[in-house]
Subunit: 349 residues, 2 copies
DNA sequence: GTTTCATACTGTAACGTTACAGATTGCATT
DNA sequence: AATGCAATCTGTAACGTTACAGTATGAAAC
């Protein structure tokens, strides 16, 4: 009887954590009453509630997550599903910090659920849903007909997507206004007198490829200019490939004199390619790029940057997924960040 | 169909997950027998074990984490404690990917526990230990007398530190051989004929400041050179401050002609400062830096880079903390990564 | 022919929590 | 005096798991 606590496990030799039971004992109340008093249930006397909460605070009571989870099914976990092949520029840490901001002072914990782009992106989603290991999911690299979004909607599982889909189904998301970015970038280049413009876009599979391309194309049309196509080159290409391909393009006659670049990481390679071809930034050619890395600012003075705030994105995604868990409707959980100094694009949904 | 008016029950309406009880029913065995059969306990008949495992696989049985956790106290969670003010260069995502590699095919999940450098670094540690919300902790930004390490050792709580301490207490860690880096950097600069060398070090509070400084100083002494001191400047300074301070130093007569830089992020600012003072990399001055960001490679061709593999660090830290949880002794759980092309420093523990 | 013993299985209790169905009170209403 | 009722509290059961103490069987030992 007495030996049990001591011999059992050495690791738990620390002062055992208070439970509802111990507080019930201390206050002379029932376990149920304590439970209710702590969550401000209606049928508890004012005096009792105060006393219980005081004692709970004094002994440093923290509800046992496993107990709650087992009983209620609520995990208090948000799962961030990440592609471990992604991210040269380090925006992932900003998203994580942003989510941390968003869930601070809530009961949620953040779990990172990794997968490899070369395997099935559905795997981690199915895992979380099937095992019920989280209350909500945050996904990124969203595609127009994203099977993950479909699956999550079908299963009624709360989630938020970084980026939009195009299936006519409403769901929570946060997105950067890439259409506005594309437009702004062209306008900035045109204002510098550039006429032959090329877009180094996101991978065509992702939704925001279309958004950026639309902004880019619309602004070109308005200025009466034609696109110089880079073929199938995208920012997901290896950084060496981008450099070499751009160098080849830049060496041709009639090469672009203005580039729009969809990511900070690719911008390093893009500029390196231009310089390998003997071009000088700000003289023969200009580049406008997303600034996903803060370090880009130091790279070349003449690079034009449009910042994307991934920490904000993380925060919004956290709020969106928590809203979804709380049962809010999708239309309340959709936000679009406008590039600094830009105006929102017209087609916003 | 989805979205608005749905009530609580819909979510749980999905095919209910199989439990030990359901498998017990299906096989006609007791719950205990099924539990044992699934974890290859000794007292189960060969035939029974096979049958149970087959059925479990067929119905896709996955143990309920809350049940296990409540019963055994084992959370199957590893907590990565992160400073959310840290990390301009994005090495955090690499560490996370590395940890993910390390815990792949185990039952562990990764939880990110953030804190702000401006608050008490002990807070997240105490939180995890007191609430028992993880089986082990990974910490970074280790200091020579790190109170977190002391606390964790005192409480017998499994952990691994990114970086070493200097308290004469053994604990699991992974570290980069910064002493070897400091030495290599000086030797590389000396080989280029540089004579007046300066170190842009890690913040002095962190242990690896001392390591890097030792390697730097030893190599200087061997070459018969003196250090050009940058005062209290460190890589934790704001990136603008680094640029300005370096620019001021570089403009002085007798300014350094060789710099050793402790982080990729700071290297951007360091080089920007040098160039602001009119110096040309590879001509009047050389810089050797840690390559914490892959993008650094594209920054300036004449920058000399020594790579630090944070993905490897993450993997090693995961292995170390899992080893600690499994009860291995600290001495088995200490690894040091040698810089590519370098030799390990002599004083290694 | 009883005892001993290993093998293979089972039932119960408990981890900490909350849902649910009561129980007890005091007080106003009939 | 009996009834109804709101306010406040309580006990039991259950979530899924594992530790522990058993039970049943058969075979070997004496």
């Amino acid at each position: 009887m007495h030996g049990q606590g001591e011999n059992d496990d050495v690791r738990r030799s620390e002062a055992i954590r208070p439970t509802l039971k111990s507080i019930a004992f201390m206050t002379g109340l029932g376990v149920t009453t304590v439970s209710r008093a702590l969550k401000d249930a209606p049928e508890i006397g004012e005096e009792t509630r105060r006393r219980v909460q005081l004692v709970a605070r004094q002994v440093g009571y923290r509800p046992n997550r496993a107990g709650v989870r087992l009983r209620t099914g609520k995990t208090n976990v948000i799962s961030l599903v990440l592609d471990t092949e992604d991210d040269v520029t380090g925006f992932v840490s900003d998203i994580i910090y942003g989510i941390s901001d968003g869930i601070a002072d809530t009961s949620y914990h953040l779990v990172v659920t990794p997968y490899s782009r070369r395997k099935d992106p559905m795997d981690p989603i199915r895992y979380v849903v099937e095992t019920g290991s989280a209350d909500g999911i945050i996904i990124s690299r969203t595609t127009p007909n994203d099977p993950r979004v479909l699956y999550l909607l079908e299963h009624g599982f709360p989630f938020a997507a970084h980026g939009r889909t195009n299936m006519g189904l409403a769901h929570p998301f946060h997105d950067f206004d890439n259409e506005a970015f594309g437009r702004m970038a062209v306008e900035a280049l045109a204002a510098r007198g550039r006429r032959r413009m090329a877009l180094l876009p996101p991978p065509p599979a992702l939704t925001y490829h279309r958004h950026m391309r639309k902004g880019f194309a619309d602004a070109l049309a308005e200025a009466g200019l034609q696109e110089y196509s880079l073929g199938d080159l995208s920012i997901d290409e290896s950084i060496d490939a981008v450099r070499d391909r751009i160098a080849a393009v830049a060496a041709r006659s009639g090469a672009p004199d203005g580039y729009v670049c969809a990511s900070g990481g690719a911008a390093f390679a893009l500029v390196a390619g231009l310089e390998a071809a003997g071009l000088v930034l700000g003289r023969e050619v200009d580049v406008v790029t997303k600034q996903s890395s803060k370090l880009l600012r130091w790279f070349r003075a003449d690079l034009r940057l449009v910042g994307e705030d991934f920490r904000l994105a993380g925060r919004q995604l956290a709020l969106a997924v928590m809203g979804a868990i709380a049962g809010k409707s999708a239309s309340e959980l959709q936000t679009i960040a406008v590039p600094a100094g830009g105006k929102p694009s017209s087609s916003r949904s």
